[in-house]
Subunit: 197 residues, 2 copies
Amino acid sequence: MKKLEQMITHKGFVLPGGILKVDSFLNHQIDPDLMKDIGEEFHERFEKEPVTKVLTIETGGIAPALFTALRFSVPCVFAKKEAGANLSSDRYMTEVFSFTKQHLYNVSVSKEYLNEGDSVLIIDDFMANGKAVEGMIDLCHQAGAHVSGIGVVIEKEFQDGGRRIREKGYHLESLACIRTMSDSAISFRIQKDEDLI
Amino acid sequence: MKKLEQMITHKGFVLPGGILKVDSFLNHQIDPDLMKDIGEEFHERFEKEPVTKVLTIETGGIAPALFTALRFSVPCVFAKKEAGANLSSDRYMTEVFSFTKQHLYNVSVSKEYLNEGDSVLIIDDFMANGKAVEGMIDLCHQAGAHVSGIGVVIEKEFQDGGRRIREKGYHLESLACIRTMSDSAISFRIQKDEDLI
């Protein structure tokens, strides 16, 4: 998605440790027009899937997930990060290791909002090692729900999350796929629809 | 806002301690069509204000704030909840007491995204004792920004946050204002535009 890549190039910062900061339009200040376009784009890429629900994890995934859910006319559910490991019979819970924060945390979703028969489109802001998405896949499996697709706004191709998840057979789409990045330059994988230009 | 009141009545639950749970359309599962309507409604109520930015606090406020920001064509900034009290020279920070969780936490916003000259519309999901909104007002004051209005999705009129903030002269609008609630019934303040019906 060209508009997104341009914003990453012009407004993103690469921090030591392979962290890409996009706080000016995605993770702290949000550009609502961009989020609307992202929702349109995910809808286009997954419109053949029978989506009944969009699932994400708070907080970074909420904005893109919400506009995607709007376009599909389905509810958006966000899994909650839990401070402790409070197991509860009315929630599905899984563990996620955060690459950015370098710690393990629990995420959970109420059993009311993820059901057998749901066809779930998982949306997240970032994919590095893929642990957050794998956590959401696990939540869907616990619920007996079908994962109909996975959309991430920014994928770091040089980490192995995307490869691992595609190898498992999931339909994974990323709107900007970063090949390499340093504090002076960011390069993207050329997207299919841009090959023709 | 009639549609919102009906959803609260039909899908909300009142828990002991005066907590209203609206997890099925606002705080865990989000109804994106309702959020779009909420954005329209806040735009209508504040359209005379020269809004340059919408400010909220993660997580519950993000959805209504985002659609309001979209309608005003301005950025949406969400203040972040901080685990510790890490003072940093590049962030404005304030303390907020959460009525729902009964504890004190810090919220902060990067100085980059809140500026002198900004005319800020503060949006939040709930107002009970008003502490979250007062925290956001404080962040705006620290930045030298003007608070042009405050919009809350659900106000609990029987707690004193709304009264206190209106007495200070702020233009505060709530889309559903709860007069009384118990586990068997919820009553709303009649809104001005509904007096005529």
